[in-house]
């Protein structure tokens, strides 16, 4: 089912409004802003993964000519133990202030310990070299399993495992234990005809945005602050900086620059509070940018995890019991997405007996940040690989196995939510009927299938609309445009108004110029901000009908809105010519003044998304290299407002998943230092690695949105790793359990396979 033909504008593919700026280099991203007299800010970072900071002597740095300000943790107030949202994750402010600037301890290699602002980059670098930090190096721990051991070096003396039963009395690196249960999994496993259990690992991977973090702060004598930053949520930035620096939110005006990728990694702050503080101390604007190396050493990746999955089923493929245990890395401070990982584990399926246990574990690595459906791709690797093992054991088609157990309307998840209109079944069927699926698997190739789920989010959005004197319309919202959302918002506004897309101009306002908006993330902008835009336009239409009524001298209830014009509701109202927006606007002054609409809401009812991916690949059995020859990503996308950008989300997420599957990982030395903080050895997919990514947009409209919108951006990264692992298993007979499946690892697995299979 598609929305084609249903709407005039929605579902079409017009040019995005920021297109010309972006293809000419005119669009300005974070590092492209400058102010006269600005200073360069640079960060001094810990070379040790774990160390006590005994003292910091900044005197020589401060005395260096050209240095205008030096800051350490002393310049930031202590924060209470308070949990606040950071994009789709939750963070503790006490940890956030330490993450941006170390206090008692350096907790990861790259942890900021001081920062300077100077007249040039060269002077700033010299100043950093003059700062003397007295470290007492402590033993460090990197991997989850090691961090959970009883004798592991402990990062936080106060950290007692939350949710432990019996309650924890000794500090450890296990910050939290979570559990979800439905039915009685233990009993159901005992009765199952087939049981499969397997353990898996994944490694941390970085969001890999091509644009490093950048911020420009200008703090002036009147206590006001202006900040330009590349971020997914400038209101979030304002909120963090307000708390971290004890400045009123209305005194901070944040402009979101164009953003060169975020994927969740730019929903938190790193440089912004530092730049503001430096600017306050120096009395001049301060510009800070991260090098690529700093991005890798010190910004939140997605976590890695150790997992064990167990599935119990009847011989004809009905899953009767499912369990998972997830040990997930949080990095230096608690707060991994083990919760979402847990909740999404079995969300694709309608199961009666489920048991999920998760652990949030700290270790001496950068604190993790959200990465596109945080947590879900990790548990999906384990669950969807095990589904494939089950399909193989039952000699059942892997799509059919999933269809047999698919979640549908009325399915209650293990975390307590009951699904409304969802598209899991339709998406599976679309894959089954696809040209790709119907084509024969080529000789030497293997084919893999995998499914994935993400909740999608609603939350706060504010929007406004106003009419120019000539009838053209401006729509204002407050979400940075990461992937083309301005076009989608303009499409919805045009559809609602009944005017041409080209007559609608969509802009993104700063934090002073529009009401609060939650981040661009959670696959929420087209849904929630779209809804706010629609409501603000409806507000404006209501007002225009009132004006038309005034012009005609009739009751406002007697006016309708059709095709961009006010019309009498019926012939009995009177013989009046329809009034265009331009005509109404021309008389705005006489009929009541400027014509504006606005809306603000905290949106619930975000429709969850389901994706199913299909991949054909071949493996060079001598070298372990994988070549993907065909890839199809299918997903229930609600209504594809601008199909090109929806396809783009599926393709982009799929390719990130491919990188996660095949080559991306953090490589640490025995000394706890990152070995590959650059794009040379942190291997993201390049154009020659890939075929075209075919997409199938299944449209099951979300009933809670006027245009049926469902979030689409995050689901696509959830299925790829298992799809590839399943294809490799089908191609080679070898089941990989650890990511990434890089050539040396795959080669090793292939070479030892006969011995391993004999041993099993």
């Amino acid at each position: 089912m598609s929305s084609q033909g249903k709407y005039k504008w929605i579902g079409t593919r017009p040019d995005r409004p920021d297109g010309a700026d972006k293809v000419t280099g005119r669009a300005r991203f974070g590092a492209d802003f400058s102010l006269p007299g600005q200073l360069v800010g640079k960060v001094l970072r810990s070379p040790h993964p774990h160390a006590l900071i005994k003292s910091i002597d900044t005197s020589k740095a401060r005395a260096l000519p050209g240095v205008k300000a030096v800051i350490t943790a002393e310049d930031f107030p202590e924060q209470a133990n308070l949990i606040v949202p950071a994009g789709e994750m939750q963070v503790n402010l006490r940890d956030v202030t330490r993450n941006i600037m170390a206090r008692e301890k350096a907790l990861f290699e790259g942890h900021p310990v001081a920062a300077v602002a100077a007249t040039s980059e060269a002077v700033a670098k010299q100043a950093l070299a003059l700062i003397k930090v007295d470290y007492k190096v402590l033993p460090h721990v990197i991997d989850v399993a090691d961090a959970m051991k009883p004798n592991a070096p402990v990062l936080h003396d106060h950290l007692l495992t939350e949710g432990a039963n019996p309650p924890a009395t000794k500090p450890s690196n296990i910050a939290k234990r979570i559990e979800f249960a439905k039915g009685d999994a233990k009993a159901a496993f005992a009765k199952a005809e087939v049981v499969i259990e397997k353990s898996y690992t994944t490694q941390p991977v970085h969001q890999g945005y091509i644009e490093p973090h950048a911020a420009l702060a200008s703090a002036t004598e009147d206590g006001q602050v202006q900040l330009w930053t590349t971020t997914q949520g400038h209101f979030q930035v304002r909120g963090f900086c307000s708390r971290l620096l004890d400045i009123e939110t209305s005194q901070i005006r944040v402009t979101a620059t164009e953003i060169g990728g975020g994927f969740g990694g730019k929903t938190v702050v790193y440089l912004e509070p530092l730049a503001i503080k430096l600017s306050q101390k120096a009395g001049k604007p301060v510009k800070m940018t991260m090098t690529r190396e700093e991005v890798f050493r010190a910004t939140g990746p997605a976590p890695g995890a150790d997992m064990t999955v167990k599935l119990g089923a009847t011989r004809d493929g009905r899953i009767v019991a499912a369990s998972i245990r997830i040990d997930m890395q949080a990095g230096a401070f608690p707060g991994s997405p083990v919760g979402p990982a847990a909740m999404c584990s079995f969300a694709c399926y309608d199961l009666d007996n489920v048991h999920i246990v998760g652990f949030d574990v700290v270790s001496n690595r950068p604190k993790v940040a959200a990465y596109r459906a945080p947590g879900a791709p990790i548990s999906a690797w384990a669950v969807e690989s095990t589904m494939d093992l089950l399909a193989q054991k039952l000699d059942m088609d892997p799509v059919d196995l999933r269809l047999k157990n698919a979640a549908k309307k009325g399915t209650k998840t293990a975390y307590g939510v009951t699904f409304g209109e969802i598209g899991m079944v339709q998406t599976l069927e679309a894959v089954k009927n696809s040209a790709h699926y119907r084509s024969a698997v080529k000789p030497g190739h293997g084919r893999g299938v995998s499914a994935g789920f993400w909740f999608n989010v609603g939350a706060d959005s504010s929007a406004a609309a106003h009419v120019g004197e000539d009838g053209s319309v401006t729509v204002i919202s407050g979400n940075p445009d990461i992937g083309g959302s301005r076009a989608s918002l303009a499409l919805m506004a045009a559809e609602e108004l009944g005017i041409d897309y080209d007559k609608v101009r969509c802009i993104i306002a700063d934090t002073a110029s529009i009401g609060f908006n939650f981040v661009t993330g959670g696959s929420r902008v087209t849904f929630a901000t779209g809804l706010a835009v629609v409501n603000s336009v409806r507000d404006m239409i209501r007002e225009m009908k009132v004006r038309a009524a005034k012009i005609w001298g009739v009751d406002p209830d007697a006016v309708t809105w059709e095709n961009g014009m006010a019309k009498p509701a019926g012939s009995n109202v009177g013989e009046f010519e329809p009034l265009t927006i331009a005509q109404i606007a021309a008389q705005a002054g006489k009929t009541g003044g400027p014509i504006n609409g606005h809306a603000q809401l905290n949106v619930t009812g975000a429709g969850p998304g389901f994706g199913v991916h299909l991949v054909d690949l071949k493996v060079d059995s001598d070298t372990g290299q994988v070549t993907i020859t065909r890839y199809t990503a299918a997903q229930d996308v609600g209504t594809a407002i601008h199909p090109s950008y929806v396809e783009g989300q599926l393709q982009g997420g799929a390719v990130q998943g491919i990188g996660w599957a095949l080559n991306e990982e953090y490589i640490y030395s025995a000394g706890g230092k990152l070995q590959n903080p650059g794009f040379l050895d942190y291997r993201m997919p390049v154009a020659s690695d890939l075929p075209m990514i075919e997409t199938i947009l299944v449209e099951v409209p979300n009933p809670t949105h006027p245009y049926g919108v469902r979030g689409v951006g995050e689901v696509p990264i959830v299925p790829p790793t298992a799809a590839i692992g399943n294809a490799i298993a089908r191609a080679t007979g070898v089941r990989m359990t650890d990511l990434p499946m890089s050539p040396p690892r795959l080669s090793e697995a292939l070479d030892t396979a006969p011995a391993r299979m004999a041993a099993e």
């Binding site: 972006k22 293809v23 000419t24 280099g25 400058s34 091509i210 490093p212 990728g261 090109s644």
Partner: protein, 160 residues
């Protein structure tokens, strides 16, 4: 050492600037000349976001010292559109949604233009290998490759 005075031609216009010996062309374009269209994604030649043409060769401007460009002819993204008409590649990128966040787009456009000048009829594989040095994290490359192939076809059509 005093700053070095360099005379060069950028996007067809004679341009002079002062620089240190160790400043890259990328630094100078962005910080001294206000040409911020070329981006720094990595500073080590691994991402292609800083791609420019120097004397007709596609290079990473982060790996060229500004001082080397004395007497050279430099072409950046800012010179790609002809007056107020976009280049066919630029038009195709917009039309086919070959950009999402847009940070890699200038690099891809400069690199693609260089490809089509050398090979007006590339295969999909040739496009992918030529552009392997341009990283994109948003699009998965699919629509970029399609846009380049379609622009190439259009340009061949226009040349006839």
């Amino acid at each position: 050492m005093a700053k070095i005075h360099v005379n060069t031609t950028i996007n067809g216009a004679p341009t002079e600037f002062l620089c240190d010996a160790n400043q890259t062309l990328l630094d100078v374009l962005r910080d001294s000349l206000g040409l911020t269209g070329s981006k720094e994604g990595c500073g080590s030649g691994d991402c292609g976001a800083c791609s420019v043409m120097v004397d007709g060769r596609l290079v990473c401007s982060c790996l060229v010292l500004a001082v080397e460009t004395q007497g050279a002819k430099i072409d950046t993204i800012e010179g790609m559109a002809g007056g107020d008409t976009l280049h066919p590649l630029q038009k195709k990128f917009i039309e086919l949604a070959a950009l999402q966040c847009g940070i890699c787009t200038p690099g891809f456009l400069v690199a693609s233009k260089a490809l089509l000048e050398k090979n007006p009829n590339p295969t999909e594989t040739e496009v992918r290998y030529w552009l392997a040095g341009n990283l994109c994290r948003c699009t998965g490359y699919d629509k970029i490759v399609t846009a380049v192939l379609e622009a190439a076809a259009e340009m061949r059509e226009g040349a006839r």
